[in-house]
């Protein structure tokens, strides 16, 4: 923990290693702290890369480079993956998907389907008062495409929220927070960065 921010608890929140009381404390803090929310989004991105890697291969390469002592290959089923799976089951059981459990119980939510030529995805929106927390998951984009997410408000204005580069496989999972209340949003567009050519679009039901 640094000063008033539970920074060092954030990795444990991702792995499900916090006690119930600590988890509620951290989640409560996250609803009002953009710094920690941004940190958590950053940590998630790193963890997603780590999840995609093969621990045995990483250890093998590090050992070859003389950076770790050789050791037995790790078990495939990682402890924290089991914790994450348990989390998904809990969330699914509550009739919601994704996000932090505490947020699920008290925040308005919406899921928006994104469609485009050869690409598709979802946008999960969680209202947090004056802000909306966003989780984008898309696939089928051109590899390495520079993308930007635009939210369209009821008054017709557009708000640029975040940008990213599609992965080698044409996918992306991105989290961001928009300074727009959820009930002010009508639709969303994923566009090519720089040209704003629409790649994916969807409307709230």
């Amino acid at each position: 923990m640094t000063a008033d921010h539970p920074s060092t608890d954030l990795p444990l929140l991702l792995t499900g290693d916090l006690t119930a009381a600590d988890r509620l404390r951290v989640q409560s803090h996250l609803t009002g702290c953009s710094r920690c929310s941004d940190d958590l989004a950053d940590l998630r991105l790193v963890r997603q890369h780590v999840d995609r890697a093969d621990p045995a291969q990483v250890l093998e390469q590090l050992a070859r480079d003389g950076l770790v002592r050789p050791a037995a290959a790790p078990a495939r089923a990682r402890r924290w993956l089991i914790a994450a799976a348990a989390c998904v089951v809990l969330i699914a059981g509550a009739g919601v998907a994704g996000g932090l459990i505490a947020e699920q119980h008290r925040s308005p939510q919406a899921v928006l389907a994104l469609t485009g030529s050869g690409a598709s995805g979802t946008l999960r929106l969680t209202g947090t008062g004056a802000q909306t927390r966003i989780r984008v998951a898309v696939s089928g984009l051109p590899r390495g495409e520079h993308c930007t997410l635009l939210l369209i408000k009821k008054d017709g204005s557009r708000q640029r929220v975040t940008s990213w580069t599609a992965s080698y496989a044409g996918g992306a999972q991105v989290e961001a927070v928009a300074a727009v209340p959820l009930d002010q949003l009508t639709s969303a567009v994923v566009a090519e960065e720089g040209t704003d050519v629409t790649l994916l679009a969807g409307t709230l039901g």
């Binding site: 940590l43 991105l45 790193v46 780590v50 950076l67 990682r78 990213w164």
Partner: protein, 173 residues
């Protein structure tokens, strides 16, 4: 007419000495043929030679970039071979399929190893125990003989540093 900028021969030799084995190993794992793996390595070095900007000391983890280039060369080579099967008919014993999922996982693994290699030993050892050896915070603290609070702190700052390295290797948004 201005000649295109090229990396020096010395730089390419250093690249070969430093990263050649990793790139060759990556290609060999994907293609299963030592000669093709060597061809991939040569092509990657040729492309690096024409991109001196990415070889600057401050341009981030070079191996991640080289491996990403190698991945693209491997896929291109596989596509060419699939489109023109008659050209490889002299070697009917070699026609491996290319598992893109496995290729990407290998690339992610090697890029992650490279990024971890750029971290301080203190950050790296904690992340290795927690995420590669699948230990809990308490187990990591015991193995490394550190207080639990230190493990938690190094985990947070280690992941932040790792995010920076992966970002510089252009593998994270």
């Amino acid at each position: 007419m201005i000649a295109p900028e090229r990396a020096s021969e010395h730089t390419v030799r250093v690249l070969y000495a430093t990263h050649g084995a990793a790139i060759r190993g990556f290609a060999l794992r994907a293609l299963g043929d030592p000669q093709l793996a060597e061809d991939v390595l040569q092509e990657v070095l040729m492309r690096a030679w024409s991109r001196p900007d990415v070889l600057e000391p401050d341009s981030g983890p070079v191996r991640g970039w080289l491996l990403t280039v190698a991945r693209n060369v491997i896929i291109d080579a596989h596509r060419r071979r699939s489109a023109r099967p008659q050209e490889v008919a002299f070697d009917v014993s070699f026609e491996p399929g290319l598992d893109l999922g496995e290729l990407n996982q290998t690339l992610d693994s090697l890029v992650l190893a490279d990024a971890l290699g750029q971290l301080s030993a203190e950050h790296r050892e904690v992340l290795v125990e927690l995420y590669l050896r699948d230990r809990s915070v308490a187990e990591t603290a015991a193995v490394l003989k550190l207080p639990v609070g230190t493990v938690k702190s190094r985990t947070f700052y280690g992941l932040k540093a790792l995010r920076g390295q992966l970002n510089r290797a252009e593998v994270l948004p």
